[in-house]
Amino acid sequence: MTSLTAKDKATVKAFWAQVSGRAEDIGKDALGRMLIVYPQTKTYFAHWKDLGPNSAPVKKHGMTVMGGVADAVTKIDDLTAGLLSLSELHAFTLRIDPQNFKILAHNILVVLAIMFPTEFTPEVHVCMDKFLAALARALAEKYR
């Protein structure tokens, strides 16, 4: 898989600056959507009673995840090093199958298209897709 070019990073940072104000909403919608559109992802949240998009734990967790994405933007020059502890968390404690990172990334992109139809151009889309894929790779670093 290709790594991020200087132009990719610049595009991601510029776009993120435009949308970061709504990071919480993006996270809540993306996670809520994922649980409905990809019901197999619910298996990771069996400990929550309510898995609907308006449930408190779903909303809170969406914000947590998006906080991670925001942090990753600041560490875009070395995601592997920057996300080391998050990778260990996902590898040893959460043990989420890495295929799910792609699924969540897709839903984040859908929400970005909905909330920012003009700004989420094809050029921005490709950079964000690459960034989220790089993020997923960094998260899966410690798996094996």
């Binding site: 959507r33 559109v37 998009p53 859908v110 298209a113 909905i114 094809p122 050029e123 897709d129």
Partner: protein, 147 residues
């Protein structure tokens, strides 16, 4: 056979009844060629694809995107038998066009993004689920006759 609920049928029919084919078709194919540049391999005869601007203003790509989108009409009209409906098109994509079936998913993801941008908040999670299920069935049917 794929089971569709009344709600899913209504969602799919609703989206297609109000679809701006010229806009969505063109945008979806353009986005695919930009976001997944290796898909340009199938469009060598279409003219200038050198950069995103060229792709976005290329009339051949726009026209072809619309054609592809109209190709989905058959599935909407035959939701209970999409597999048979696309048998011939599947053979075409395999034997004549030589399109790697993995590409169908890439285009379908771009189509989802374009539809989401158009429908905004009315592209609810339920709508997204029905839409993606529909596209997944189409993608599977198109890949069926490859051997």
């Amino acid at each position: 056979m794929v089971e569709w609920t009344e709600q899913e049928r209504s969602i799919i029919n609703g989206i297609f009844a109000n679809l701006d084919y010229d806009d969505v078709g063109a945008k979806a194919l353009c986005r695919c060629l930009i976001v997944y540049p290796w898909t340009q391999r199938y469009f060598g005869a279409f003219g200038n694809l050198y950069n995103a601007e060229a792709i976005k203003t290329n009339p051949n790509i726009a026209a072809h995107g619309v054609k592809i989108l109209h190709g989905l009409d058959r599935a909407v009209k035959n939701m209970d038998n999409i597999k048979a409906t696309y048998a011939e098109l599947s053979v075409l994509h395999s034997e004549k066009l030589h399109v790697d079936p993995d590409n169908f998913k890439l285009l379908s993801d771009c189509l989802t993004i374009v539809i989401a941008a158009r429908l905004g908040s009315s592209f609810t999670p339920e709508t997204q689920a029905a839409w993606q299920k529909f596209l997944a069935v189409v993608v599977s049917a198109l890949g069926r006759q490859y051997h």
